[in-house]
């Protein structure tokens, strides 16, 4: 029985009707909207999934190299398989031989001349000119613009544009990568869209312009159709792309944060390409065994970075190199990778990709620390460490080999490695206490880049970034808020000199010689205890052709670098 109306209130029937109408309205209002791509229905389409969200495609704020590389291009790019630079928007790279790269060694200045390819256009069809690049530098150079990496903009004195295709860059200092400026270092921005906002002087407003994400107009192989909040990008082939219109007409770039969800999506056949560890190692093994063997696709496990154990550079227990060597000899890394990673992952001896040309020479020069507990004990004894009554190592001063061991909580591979290493060390008398913490805490100013005992971590293998990782000038301190990454506290003048020289302009042979020398020093001093190469997991569905997994991680290397040439059958 319906309740009578009182004081103008609702009776039950009216209440139910109103609630129903509200629910229906809500349901209909949430109907997914977007631009109807009626014309593209018959086009080839792929779905890519990644784990990292983007906040846009700019060089400020959070962004991701893969997403950005789909929609924008730079003067130069990098082939992530050969690591060679190639001219992208530029017709050719400046060269000393051709006189387009002039170096004034006396004044330590340079000039590089880039010539743009003819007929370049932005996604919206407007011509791309040298003035756009000059404008890009003006924006990046502005002190209030929150650029992440200011190295290149700050090294430039001025940019001249004698004609619409020529860019003349005057450098304040010598810079070995000046011949191949990539988009993450410096790039053009469309003057026809951003110039008024920039000239108005309100840089804060400019950084929040919807251009940087939702209304992005670039020069990459794909143009943005729908930003999807950064979690589902809808892209269509750019007809003006410098290397021709891509063969695959539509791309959906989805962000799936949960590795199990990604795995399910791949198994259900919803995904053509899963990038960059969207699936966990266990998931990759499942895919190898249940998906690849059925011919449904391919799983790539390229060793693009590496995992190390670091012994605190400030803890006196580890000052003696014999102790570090002993601790490495005590670990059976081959057994570790065989058991924990089913043999898919090789042992690493120094931070260099095995695919680098110089690797063989460097590997021959490097010292190897094979599993040898007897040698470990011998080295420890030489350093004054002998097992006490309880089996724990102690020295003459009464110090005991006891220390804390950290890892990032929730990173299964690293936690597993930590447990195995602790077990090996226990056998030779080194006692560890586990103190793992979440990434948030490890990255906070209070804890980041320093630890009292040991820590398991990892980073990329990019030779060009060695200085950031190993140079003594980059040692994290209270003064720099522990924001620098040279966590090893390695203080070797010879190694510093090598890294300094590697950042200058030199013939290839000299660079090879220096890299070999570095590998030798690294494996002699063991600033880190190298554990194993860390693979990057890519799942490529059957039918997708042209994907070339990168050999190294790092911002210059994109798995999607050649997407215009990909095809789907």
């Amino acid at each position: 029985m319906a309740r009578d109306k009182k004081d103008g209130g609702l009776n039950r029937r009216e209440f139910i009707q109103t609630a129903g109408a509200t629910a229906a309205g809500l349901f209909l209002s949430a109907w997914p909207s977007g631009k109807a791509p009626a014309a593209q229905v018959a086009e080839k389409r792929i779905v890519i999934v990644a784990q990292r969200r983007t906040a846009g495609f700019a060089n400020h704020g959070r962004s991701d190299t893969e997403q950005t590389g789909l929609v924008d291009a730079g003067l130069a790019g990098q082939n992530p398989v050969t690591l060679e630079r190639f001219p992208w928007l530029a017709e050719e790279l400046p060269s000393i031989k051709k006189g387009t790269w002039k170096i004034d060694q006396k004044n330590k200045t340079m000039v590089t001349v880039y010539r743009l390819r003819s007929g370049l256009k932005w996604h919206d069809g407007k011509p791309f000119t040298s003035k756009d690049f000059q404008f890009g530098w003006e924006v990046h150079h502005h002190p209030e613009f929150p650029l992440r990496d200011r190295l290149v903009p700050d090294l430039i004195e001025k940019i001249e544009t004698p004609d619409v295709r020529t860019i003349v860059i005057h450098w304040k200092a010598l810079y070995n990568e000046a011949y191949a400026i990539q988009k993450q270092q410096l790039r053009a921005w469309p003057r026809h869209i951003l110039e008024d906002a920039f000239r108005s002087g309100n840089i804060k407003a400019l950084t929040k312009h919807p251009y940087w994400n939702q209304q992005f107009v670039g020069t990459g192989p794909y143009r943005l159709v729908d930003y999807g909040g950064g979690t589902q990008l809808e892209l269509e082939a750019n007809p003006y792309y410098v290397f021709g219109k891509p063969k695959i007409g539509r791309v959906t770039f989805r962000v799936i944060e949960d590795t199990n969800t990604s795995l399910s999506a791949i198994l259900a056949g919803e995904v053509d390409l899963a990038l960059r560890n969207t699936i966990a190692f266990d998931g990759a093994v499942i895919l190898k065994e249940q998906w690849q063997t059925k011919g449904l696709g391919q799983v790539s496990l390229r060793p693009v970075s590496h995992t190390w154990v670091n012994l605190s550079g400030t803890n006196p227990l580890f000052k003696d190199v014999r102790v570090r060597r002993a601790l490495l000899h005590a670990i059976d890394r081959n057994a570790l990778v065989k058991n924990a990673f089913k043999g898919y992952v090789p042992v690493v001896h120094f931070p260099m990709s095995p695919y680098r040309k110089v690797f063989k020479k460097a590997d021959a020069a490097a010292t190897k620390y094979e599993y040898n507990p007897n040698r470990a004990q011998q080295l420890l004894a030489e350093a004054g460490w002998k097992p006490g009554a309880d089996g724990v190592l102690a020295n003459e001063k009464g110090e005991r080999m006891e220390f804390e061991f950290r890892a990032e909580a929730g990173r299964r591979g690293e936690e597993q490695t930590q447990a195995i290493v602790i077990d090996y060390w226990k056998k030779i008398g080194a006692q560890c206490s586990v103190k793992n913490m979440p990434g948030r805490l490890l990255n906070s100013e209070e804890f980041r880049n320093r630890w009292p005992g040991a820590m398991v971590g990892g980073h990329n293998l990019v030779v060009e970034e060695w200085a950031e990782r190993y140079h003594s000038a980059g040692t994290p301190t209270a003064e720099n808020r522990y924001s620098t990454e040279s966590v090893t506290h390695w203080n070797n003048a010879q190694a510093d000199a090598i890294m300094d020289e590697l950042n200058t302009i030199m013939p290839e042979q000299r660079a090879i010689q220096l890299q070999v020398e570095f590998a030798k020093l690294y494996t002699r001093d063991l600033p880190h205890l190298p554990m194993y190469y860390s693979p990057e997991i890519l799942a490529i569905k059957k039918g997708l052709r042209g994907v070339t997994p990168r050999i190294e991680s790092g911002g210059n290397n994109m798995n999607t670098w050649n997407m215009h040439a990909w095809d789907k059958t």
């Binding site: 209130g9 109807a36 589902q232 950031e468």
Partner: protein, 323 residues
């Protein structure tokens, strides 16, 4: 009643201010560094770059200055700009809120309706086989974690049977605005709604059963039966309304979930809702978004408590609020 509601609404202002200050402080005290995660892949980063960015993003300001800046923007109905998403906060929050509301409202309506029906069924057939079956199922449901159930449903219905998509909100190959797209969208919603609805059923069914059993033992119902009323009339017309009063309280308390979404379910189904947004913004130290979402949830809690009080008066004529 109007005076009572106005008074309660006015009381909400200092309460919400206090909540906002407290939550801002808690978020501020959380470990983490928003810049550090943004800069993790940037080579050549110099300490001076780090300091410059801290200053440009206002991270060097004392906490009360940062809070005041945020509050001032909220007063102007513009909560600010999301550093994590690179968009105005409301542009990020509103679509997520809309997605979550669709999911949770559907789950709540379906789940609670089924739960109330099953609760009634169990109560009027107490100690029957079906009552035992429902009791066992409910306890099994209590023991199953939501994420596991979600994953199992994905594996069964999406991977093995292929009936539904595994995740997301719309398939890439459908043309938005068509019936195919609507059907596709509904298909995307079915599994997450089912997982959420199951959790609703488990929570409310037991309350409904025990509440109705309590009421069914009351003297006035014995009188109603003695008057010759059918059991259907006794339960439907006299018992149900009174039995619903504690259930309304439970429903009101759980309603903020409608706004807050379910982080776990949204994450497992890759569903772009408010729960996942809150998680991401907290993990990314995106105070602007996190604060706005938390305040929305706080507002819902306070509003639903008020609504529950008003509903009591509607359900039980003995409850009257003094002006």
């Amino acid at each position: 009643m109007l005076h009572y509601v106005s008074k309660r609404l006015l009381e909400m202002v200092p309460l919400l201010l206090f909540i906002s200050g407290l939550i801002y402080l808690l978020l501020y005290l959380m470990p983490g560094d928003p810049l550090y995660s943004m800069l993790e892949d940037v080579p050549h980063l110099r300490p001076e770059d780090y300091e410059r960015l801290r200053k440009l993003y206002g991270l060097d300001d004392p906490v009360y200055v940062q809070y005041w800046k945020w509050l001032w923007q909220v007063i102007q109905l513009n909560p600010g700009y999301s550093r994590e998403y690179g968009q105005p906060a409301m542009d990020v929050i509103l679509p997520a809120l809309k997605n979550t509301l669709v999911l949770t409202v559907a789950a709540v309506i379906i789940g609670k309706s089924i739960a109330i029906a099953l609760g009634i069924f169990s109560a009027i057939r107490q100690y029957s086989l079906w009552d035992y079956v429902l009791t066992v199922l409910t306890f099994i449901g209590y023991c199953i974690p939501g994420f596991w159930l979600a994953l199992m449903m994905i594996i069964l219905f999406a991977v093995k049977l292929g009936w539904f998509p595994t995740s997301g909100i719309i398939s890439p190959d459908v043309v938005p605005g068509t019936w195919t797209a609507t059907l596709d969208w509904i298909k995307h919603l079915i599994l997450p709604i089912a997982v959420l609805a199951i959790s609703e059923i488990i929570q409310v069914q037991r309350y409904m059963r025990s509440s109705l059993l309590e009421v069914l033992r009351q003297d006035y119902l014995t009188t109603a039966r003695a008057k010759g009323l059918s059991e259907r009339a006794v339960v439907g017309r006299h018992a149900l309304k009174n039995a619903l009063i504690p259930v309304v309280t439970i429903i009101a308390i759980t309603m903020p979930r409608v706004i807050g979404g379910s982080t776990v379910v949204e994450t497992v189904f890759g569903y772009p809702g408010i729960g996942r947004l809150l998680y991401v913004s907290i993990m990314g130290n995106d105070f602007v978004v996190a604060m706005t979402v938390v305040m929305l949830i706080a507002l819902t809690v306070v509003a639903f408590n008020l609504l529950a009080d008003i509903l009591y008066g509607w359900l039980d004529p003995r409850i009257r609020y003094q002006d």
